[in-house]
């Protein structure tokens, strides 16, 4: 995939691949191999039901943060479920690190839109769950402490998760997702319910953490601001049977991501224009 310059007219129009039911997986060139490879994925929820996703091709490099933008119902959550292995696509296949995804794995962890914390556990118990499942016995406490500090929840370790505010719950869910040290993080509108300040802070934190740990991240959102704040690249999904309608890099320096800089505003406006166009088209 050629990296495009960050100008509206540089939007790579993605030609829908021929609708042949199953898309043949082309022999892959080792050099072109990427960390996540979604090839020809299509999906419908029932045999004769409407097509929800059509011919999705998406490649993501290791360590990259990709924002998946699209309107409600465009199939963003469906695609994330398919990548995570929680759902089998009707067509096509997903490979992660060269290996075909057949079922969920703690190596690629998805964080759902709702925090879905277990209310009968403390914050620390929730965060340590992945380690428990992996039958780790040593260093569990230390690791839990570490991830909770990372999301600034160390002092809440022994609280019941129901006694946290919404933002704290989101952070706890995030801590739970990263505790088993996944390589790939799939985030489904993780901050949609938060007020603007909490949100801004978390966006910065997550980007920083991901970059520090070298995680690959797919971030589903319908907020252009959030995409610019967090992602290296934005992939736009058209509505209807969701298709990739645009794929563009986000070129903002780390410093500019934090402030209300000119560059940030420009980039946001550019992306919004793209999004509006596609939404209008979709």
């Amino acid at each position: 995939m050629v990296q495009l310059k960050s100008k509206p007219e540089n939007l790579r129009a993605v030609a829908p691949s021929a609708d042949t039911g199953t898309s043949p997986v082309a022999p892959r060139d080792e050099a072109d191999r990427r960390y996540v490879e979604v090839s020809g994925v299509g999906h419908s929820y029932s045999r004769n039901g409407p097509t929800v996703l059509r011919s999705i091709d998406l490649k993501i490099s290791a360590g990259e943060i990709v924002a998946l933008i699209g309107r409600s119902g465009s199939g963003k959550s469906t695609l994330l479920h398919i990548i995570s292995g929680l759902m089998k696509p009707s067509d096509g296949a997903v490979r992660i690190d060269g290996q075909r995804v057949e079922k969920p794995s703690p190596r690629w962890v998805m964080m759902f839109q709702a925090p879905s914390l277990y209310p009968w556990m403390t914050v620390a118990q929730n965060a340590g769950l992945g380690l428990k499942y992996a039958k780790k016995t040593e260093g569990v406490d230390a690791r839990v402490k570490e991830v909770l500090s990372l999301v600034d929840l160390a002092e809440f370790a022994d609280r019941n998760v129901q006694d946290l505010s919404g933002g704290q719950q989101q952070r706890a869910a995030f801590a739970r997702s990263i505790a088993p040290e996944p390589e790939l993080l799939l985030l489904d509108e993780p901050f949609s319910a938060l007020d603007i300040f909490t949100r801004r802070a978390l966006q910065n934190d997550v980007r920083e953490i991901a970059k520090r740990l070298g995680l690959t991240v797919v971030l589903v959102t319908h907020d252009v601001n959030e995409a610019v704040q967090m992602a290296d690249r934005a992939v736009l999904l058209s509505s209807g049977p969701g298709r990739i309608a645009g794929d563009t890099e986000i070129n903002v320096s780390e410093a500019d991501r934090v402030s209300q800089s000119k560059k940030f505003q420009m980039e946001t406006t550019r992306l919004r224009t793209l999004y509006t166009e596609i939404a209008g088209l979709g």
Partner: protein, 222 residues
């Protein structure tokens, strides 16, 4: 009217006092508690796993619905002849009758709890690499613990209902036996006193369940 005025509170309570002092209350309660307890253990041992299975698997639920509803509706007391035939000891027959009556509320409450389970919780667990056993112990059981206990509370009520006629069968101890005995001898103050004992024990058992519900309940009441 003759003996029947003995149902009045005064003779009943003074009789209860005598029975307490003589230790008779314990003598009659312990065998019944043993039978109800064991009956409930079997009911839980069968009801909870089957309830989880039919709650999780729609196909199984649909296949078993007809036979289960059918069996459920048959009064355990019509099983009596079969129980008498099939079990070597009277105690076993009584425990069987109690278990047969108590298994349904537990099974149904478990299945209903499972259907209310947030599917995201299971997805999260699978995603984090939970084995089926892990999913059972860390997600399913804690999530539906209060539902199971609600079922057990209802089952407890049913078990006591069945106890009295079940202790018709060849045993010489227990509260149901004491009630039958009192009825056979028209000793209504004793009958009323025994009823009070049953009420108190039932209430205490229910209270234990309620405390367990409160402990295991993670839903914040508004």
């Amino acid at each position: 009217m003759f003996a029947f005025s003995m149902f009045a509170p005064e003779p009943a309570l003074s009789r209860l006092w005598d029975m307490l002092l003589s230790g008779e209350v314990w003598e009659m309660s312990i065998p019944s508690l043993y039978r109800v307890g064991l009956g409930l253990v079997f009911a839980i041992g069968i009801g909870v796993p089957v309830g989880i299975a039919i709650g999780r698997m729609v196909v199984l639920r649909e296949v078993t619905n007809i036979p289960f509803q059918f069996l459920r509706m048959i009064s355990p007391l019509s099983w009596m002849p079969i129980a008498v035939m099939a079990f070597a000891t009277w105690d076993a027959a009584i425990i069987f009758l109690i278990a047969v009556a108590a298994v349904w509320p537990i099974m149904f409450a478990t299945a209903a709890g499972l259907r209310r389970l947030d599917p995201a919780w299971l997805k999260v667990a699978r995603n984090l690499g939970a084995s089926p056993l892990h999913q059972l112990t860390t997600v399913i059981l804690p999530a539906i613990a209060t539902d199971i206990l609600t079922g057990i509370r209802l089952a407890l009520g049913v078990a006591w209902i069945v106890l009295v006629p079940a202790e018709y069968l060849g045993v010489t101890s227990g509260l149901g036996y004491a009630i039958n005995d009192a009825r056979d001898t028209l000793d209504y103050s004793r009958l009323a006193a025994t009823v009070v004992v049953i009420g108190i024990i039932g209430f205490l058992l229910d209270y234990i369940c309620l405390k367990a519900v409160q402990r295991l309940n993670w839903v914040r009441e508004s």
